[in-house]
Homo-oligomer: 434 residues x 2
Amino acid sequence: MSDRIVGMQPVDVRFPTSRELDGSDAMNPAPDYSAAYVTLSTGDGHSGQAFAFTIGRGNEVVVEAIRALEAGVVGTPVDELLGDMGEFSRRLLYDSQLRWLGPEKGVMHMAIGAVVNAAWDLRARIEGRPLWRALSDLEPAALVDLVDFRHLRDVLDADEALDLLQRAAPTRVERAERLLAEGVPAYATSPGWLGYSDDKLARLCAEAVTDGFDLVKLKVGGSVDDDVRRCRIAREVIGPGRRLAVDANQVWGVDDAVDWIRRLAEFDLFWVEEPTSPDDVMGHAAIRSAVAPVPIATGEHVQNRIVFKQLMALGGVDVVQIDAARVAGVNENVAIILLAAKFGLPVCPHAGGVGLCEMVQHLSMFDYVALGGDLDARVVEHVGHLHEHFVDPVALTHGRYLAPAAPGFSTLMRPGSIDAHRWPDGAVWAGEGP
Amino acid sequence: MSDRIVGMQPVDVRFPTSRELDGSDAMNPAPDYSAAYVTLSTGDGHSGQAFAFTIGRGNEVVVEAIRALEAGVVGTPVDELLGDMGEFSRRLLYDSQLRWLGPEKGVMHMAIGAVVNAAWDLRARIEGRPLWRALSDLEPAALVDLVDFRHLRDVLDADEALDLLQRAAPTRVERAERLLAEGVPAYATSPGWLGYSDDKLARLCAEAVTDGFDLVKLKVGGSVDDDVRRCRIAREVIGPGRRLAVDANQVWGVDDAVDWIRRLAEFDLFWVEEPTSPDDVMGHAAIRSAVAPVPIATGEHVQNRIVFKQLMALGGVDVVQIDAARVAGVNENVAIILLAAKFGLPVCPHAGGVGLCEMVQHLSMFDYVALGGDLDARVVEHVGHLHEHFVDPVALTHGRYLAPAAPGFSTLMRPGSIDAHRWPDGAVWAGEGP
């Protein structure tokens, strides 16, 4: 008898990052980086892990949403689940009663993403390969089968996606070799949190340069005068030869965004990130047009491939920022990467939080190997927090992510970290529970 | 000392509607209409009720999301909460940690909607007036204060919204009188569920005509040949002088939608509803342009005012279908109604489910009294199920909703109904619990 999924166990893990204002920005002044973490277990003793990322309160809601998916997963033969990941993803997305809670957005979608990603981790572990390699070795037709094209076909259909992948297939091997030798470029967000003092900003920018980062990002959107001062400090420290990006975390309306970006344009911005609501495709297009040639980046809060489709097709975005843990997992990110390839836009993933760097590096590496293009046009966010809680943490050298070699999706959290940070009963939260 | 909110109690209530295929459509074959129902209680013994609507599994996730809002509500002075409902709504929407779970979409947004609507029910009960009247009597400036314009200003700002309301203010009294005399027109969805036989369809269409309905809606999108046959039956029964609409519940991509609608156009459709993903503003605009002059309707799954803004501004919709329980409550629906008024589009609310008719009738009546226009251009969905569970059920006569007279938002469910349908321990669910 074939092996089956015998368990799907979520756990609420939270890190008290708000105590130091790590991660503070104009929309999110005091986050506690958290994971709605899930383990899929098989009868033969294999397991796969992944998580949705949240910033504290409400993490328990995502945990509850993961529980709601259990009936569709536990009991499934492992071969059936892992052998057709497109079908598995669609089964979760099209449970008609659960679909009502989105559709394909918010808490339920993040929970589906965690479960789909845990299944990918399980598959890569069983195959004994890192996820980026497991994905990159799939035939173009198998990659196309991962994607739900139902609401994409007016812009990208399966045939065109297949063609994009097939054209890049013959040169995959040489790109994988280059990736193993060079890694992918990272950029540094740690210096620029909104809650940091000017001195700390300057010191951390200098450290980023020392560490080999070529691009530093600052949070903006609190006060334009403060932002001008902080951009000036950062630009002076990193010098004219390195790149500076800013991130407004959605706080502006269209007109505010245009005015603010014009004030900051003197600092030669590499991109302006999340200038307005992630739901506002039309607003992004209007802003981008008004501030051209300042590039616009967005995506970490874009709910699904359908909104990404429109952002690209309507000219709302220059830089596509996928997130490993907001959309419905690897499958939907493959769809978004294919859309970006069609439009010739660079995919520069959002990361940070807890474990987002660990996951998303694999997707960026898959993107390079499977679709080609300029290796250095992909710049993956890096934040230096919380990596110590993972069994296979990211490895950076000279501002580049090195390709992971360990099997899986780099999602396995240390048991001791889970125990200590479990909400509300972990030792870190003693006395702060509900 | 002023009275305070002393309790916010959610309960998971589910009705086993899937046993009869009531409510079946192309995307939702077997729904169990459910409510994540919440009661706000004050120290002085007042209470307000409202709910998010779901179709079964996952209702417990919305209940958990309502619990996550409790800390921001319980303990608030009642005067402070009810005296500035704009601020109360913003406080819930901009809790930065919870906002990450949307932002402003999906489970968390529906939960906020339930709590905001419960507060409106409480306020109207304390005032001793039906909600439509309480809202319609507010000064234009007070109505504008309810709305969060942050991500709307490029299309509608507070000044223009104020102007729309002020222009209609002098004639409010005469419209309220006409509303009390005539009610608002309803349309009938009960005949057309996808799971019903042709005979049942024909019989229920005939009954709808007898009951005075001028517009009947059929679910479509399973098979185009079936849909042609079912539209022919419905058109023959209701005759050429009445109106026929169809609803695809999002199953089509853009090209499918265009082909399918062209096949059905011979039946003189009053609108085609949800032709594609509610997230696809661009897709709606493309479909609408390709099938003109067939009108396109959407909105029941549109996540928030920002997507409605784009649907209207980019020409994706002819008929705006608000839902009382998907967006962030009365406040956000006031924003959407103001947007529709700016574009001169009729607001024809989605209803049905459990309790949606009870709630949304108030919003349609507010729309007419506060903003004017053609009374009969507003057609409110009506489905004949589950009204018996409410203390103040809708009252229809000759196919029109009569204006409610009882205080509140008509959201109070009978205690016996809650007890019997409570998931998983109510008598109706005996033996079917998890």
